[in-house]
């Protein structure tokens, strides 16, 4: 209940922040940003492990992004499939004799390649270290721009997304050290040559549920937290960071289960310790489209992994809790994450068990219980519908009214039974973490596109 009240507060903050952002965007012409000599260069880092099916198209799309000074570094993280061969063939890669300084230690590099077809493209071929963080760190070492943007190889960025996300940096380059963009569900959309031709809702209920979840998490949660400069996470699928700060905190933590969350928390820690005035922002319009699990088994694995990532970050940073030097992060966002994220499934299980026991023992009125359950359900649904409203007020990606109607209907099922399923998966994550089982389990993906280079 308290969690929903907090989310209601975040929803209100998010609506205000969104409206302000849209006004501000109106005064910032993107074509002028593109033409400005003062637009800073940015390096896109694309970790790729066994992405042979989509890598060529993905890189083509990234090179086609609208940004004046762009460098794309693909890190082939010891793929067993044809990822490297496909890249070599499609972009006629040649060995590049560039200096590579391992500011952050990584698994050894085999070679660095450059494409004569597009001098902005570099490919690092490295030994697999068994984690995405190591590949990203290699990319950070090779990056030459003051800003880096980490993008998943199986995701699609919209053409203007880089300029839009950098608008967050331009607002206050001295203070803004990282900016996150929104990640949306690609399933169901029509994709041609790695570009979204038509935004559609996916067909299966499990995917639609994730659409609602993503909308709530990004448009309400992240936007709301960013409003207080308390953003605890920037998605690993799409985020911009100041390179020198990432180097200062030692890059992404190798073998961290949730490397994106871990990095942002360590950035908060470092910046507070250095007593620097900073802002970690979220911009809701730069969009990254990503494929979400289509079956329950994969979704269960993903959610268990996310929860392991959460524990894996919260536990090493437990010393930050309630310490004055870490400011509001230590007093608000970290306790929130411990109570309402980490302990939430445990609290829910305890709650359900207590209620059932109370009903059996007859100490709880059945009618009161049903009414309270209905209220909890209605209140939570209100928040879900609120996130759809926010989407409607701002970006309206789902233009067909029937799709919006479907979204609204699915909001009714998000808190029963979908929420209870995620609770079980998160409990599995806790159990796996306690057993020391941190291994990466593959998630079944359909693949976004197999089209050749555009």
């Amino acid at each position: 209940m308290l969690s929903n009240v907090i989310y209601l507060g975040l929803l209100i903050v998010a609506i205000v922040k969104n409206v302000r952002h849209r006004h501000r965007l109106g005064s910032q012409r993107l074509e002028l940003v593109k033409a400005s000599p003062f637009t800073p260069p940015i390096t896109l880092i694309v970790p790729a492990h066994n992405e042979g099916r989509s890598i060529v198209g993905s890189v083509g799309a990234l090179l086609g992004l609208e940004y004046p000074r762009l460098e794309v570094i693909v890190v082939n993280d010891g793929s067993d499939d044809a990822t490297m061969e496909k890249l070599r063939h499609a972009y006629q890669l040649q060995t590049a004799r560039i200096l590579y300084i391992a500011d952050i230690a990584t698994a050894p590099l085999h070679a660095i390649y450059r494409s004569p077809l597009d001098p902005r493209l570099f490919v690092l071929d490295k030994e697999a270290a068994g984690c995405k963080a190591d590949a990203i760190n290699a990319g950070i070492n090779a990056a030459t721009s003051p800003y880096i943007c980490v993008v998943d190889a199986d995701s699609i960025l919209e053409k203007e997304s880089l300029i839009r996300i950098m608008a967050g940096v331009f607002a206050d380059p001295g203070r803004v050290v990282a900016v996150g963009g929104i990640v949306r569900v690609l399933n169901g959309c029509r994709v041609v040559n790695n570009h979204i031709e038509e935004v559609r809702l996916p067909k299966s209920p499990i995917e639609v549920m994730q659409v609602i979840e993503y909308l709530r998490a990004f448009l309400v949660g992240r936007e709301g937290w960013a409003g207080f400069n308390l953003l605890p996470i920037i998605s690993g699928a799409f985020g911009v960071f100041k390179r020198d700060l990432v180097l200062q905190v030692g890059g992404f933590r190798t073998h961290a289960v949730g490397e994106d969350l871990d990095l942002v928390i360590r950035m908060h820690r470092r910046l507070h310790e250095d007593r620097r005035s900073y802002h970690i922002d979220f911009i809701p319009d730069p969009t990254c489209w990503t494929e979400v699990p289509t079956d329950l088994k994969s979704l269960a694995r993903q959610r268990a992994r996310w929860h392991k990532g959460l524990i894996d970050t919260l536990w090493p940073n437990r010393d930050m809790l309630f310490r004055a030097r870490y400011g509001r992060v230590a007093w608000i966002v970290l306790p929130y994450m411990w109570i309402f994220e980490f302990f939430a499934p445990i609290i829910e299980v305890v709650g359900y068990t207590t209620i059932i026991l109370a009903l059996i023992l007859g100490v709880l009125s059945k009618s009161f219980f049903l009414q309270f359950l209905l209220f909890g359900y209605a209140f939570a649904t209100l928040i879900s519908i609120g996130s759809v409203l926010l989407e409607e007020m701002t970006f309206r990606r789902y233009s067909d009214w029937r799709e919006v109607a479907r979204l609204l209907i699915y909001c009714l099922f998000e808190h029963f039974p979908y929420r209870q399923l995620t609770m079980v998966w998160r409990l599995q994550g806790i159990w796996q973490y306690l057993r020391g089982d941190l291994q990466w389990r593959s998630i079944k993906r359909v693949g976004i596109s197999t089209n050749p280079v555009a």
């Binding site: 006004h23 501000r24 109106g26 005064s27 910032q28 002028l32 400005s36 000599p37 003062f38 060995t95 590049a96 004799r97 560039i98 200096l99 590579y100 300084i101 391992a102 990584t106 050894p108 590099l109 070679a111 660095i112 450059r114 331009f170 607002a171 206050d172 380059p173 009125s365 009618s367 009161f368 009414q371 309270f372 209905l374 209220f375 209605a378 209140f379 649904t381 209100l382 519908i385 609120g386 759809v388 409203l389 409607e392 007020m393 009214w401 919006v404 609204l408």
Partner: protein, 400 residues
Amino acid sequence: MGFIFNGIEKLGPTGLVLEAILVSLLGILLLVGFIVLRRWYRARYFHKRNQRTVALRSQWDDILSGKISAEDWRFNPLDCDIVESILLDSIEMSPADKLPPLLDCLRVSGLLDMRIYEARTSHGWKQRTALLALGRTRAMEAIPALAEGLDSRLRETRIAAVRGLGRTARMEAAIPILDRIVTGQFDAPERSLKNALVNCCRSSPEVLINYVEQTHGPVRELLARVLGELASPELGEELVILASDVLPEVRASAARALGNTNTSYTLPALHTLAADPEWFVRLRAVVALGQIENLGKISILLRSLCDANRHVRQRAASVLARMEPQLHQILEEVVATKDDYALQAFISELERSGAIERIVSGFAGSGHHSAETALMEVVTEARKRVELSGNAAAAAAGSR
């Protein structure tokens, strides 16, 4: 509604929960209703707007020439908005000689005066929208109203005024910004200021020189950076003075500017800057040397190739590797430096540009066997070293 809640309250705690359920359900209904209504309204509005846009576009020449009186569209908010949008878009896209009829239409219809009035009297987003629209008009009479916006106590409004002045792309619009910047008290994002000044001072960058001379610290750096983007050959002497500035950022900007001014002052000034104590000034000087056509730069670049900083070395190598006719001579001189890092950087760049094979084949056909054999040995050795057999060697080389 009140009697329902009164009745519920009589139920005690159960009533409270029922009340909460009702409020939540009401909230859900309101949200859904709002979404549906908003969709319906927007669909209707855009349909109507599209129709009016087509109609006004078909009469555009008459609107512009005044055959259709401004009174016919000026007092209909939708028509007025559409005409203004078309006018401002046209102004932005038009060359200078096509501007007068568009500006006349803005003036005669009263749209310009309306925006000036809004910029002066409105507040919040309305004022900011007016300031940006005024900037897009590129009209001289818009500048005073925009300048007043610079004195707003709200930062967002000041930013809108800066952007508006920048969009006029008029030198006169730069003066209010510069006058405020030199006080050192003007608070606006550096990037917005620089972009506005670049747009306004493009045709006459010399206006910046006086202001650079009057300022100190970060403001001086900002203005020098703008000057670095806009410098023309006429500014040669002034730039040489800036090249000896106490602020490294200013010297770096002077180096950047000198790259656009190939005068008799350029090479000596860049020679000095390429030996600057700050690495980024040296780097800027090397980049600028790459932009000028003067063989005298080879000796400076060779010195930079042995620089302690890897970025400077790499850039110097990149510039040298592009001097195709002199590559043999340059390679000999690089070998003569006996600096392994310099040689590696240069060979790397030659390999990257593909020139290495031509040099090797050139040596094969030359006839100076003993000298060439010795040189080739060094080159072959250097190429081997450049090979990335492992990170450790590369990291050690780079961290130098």
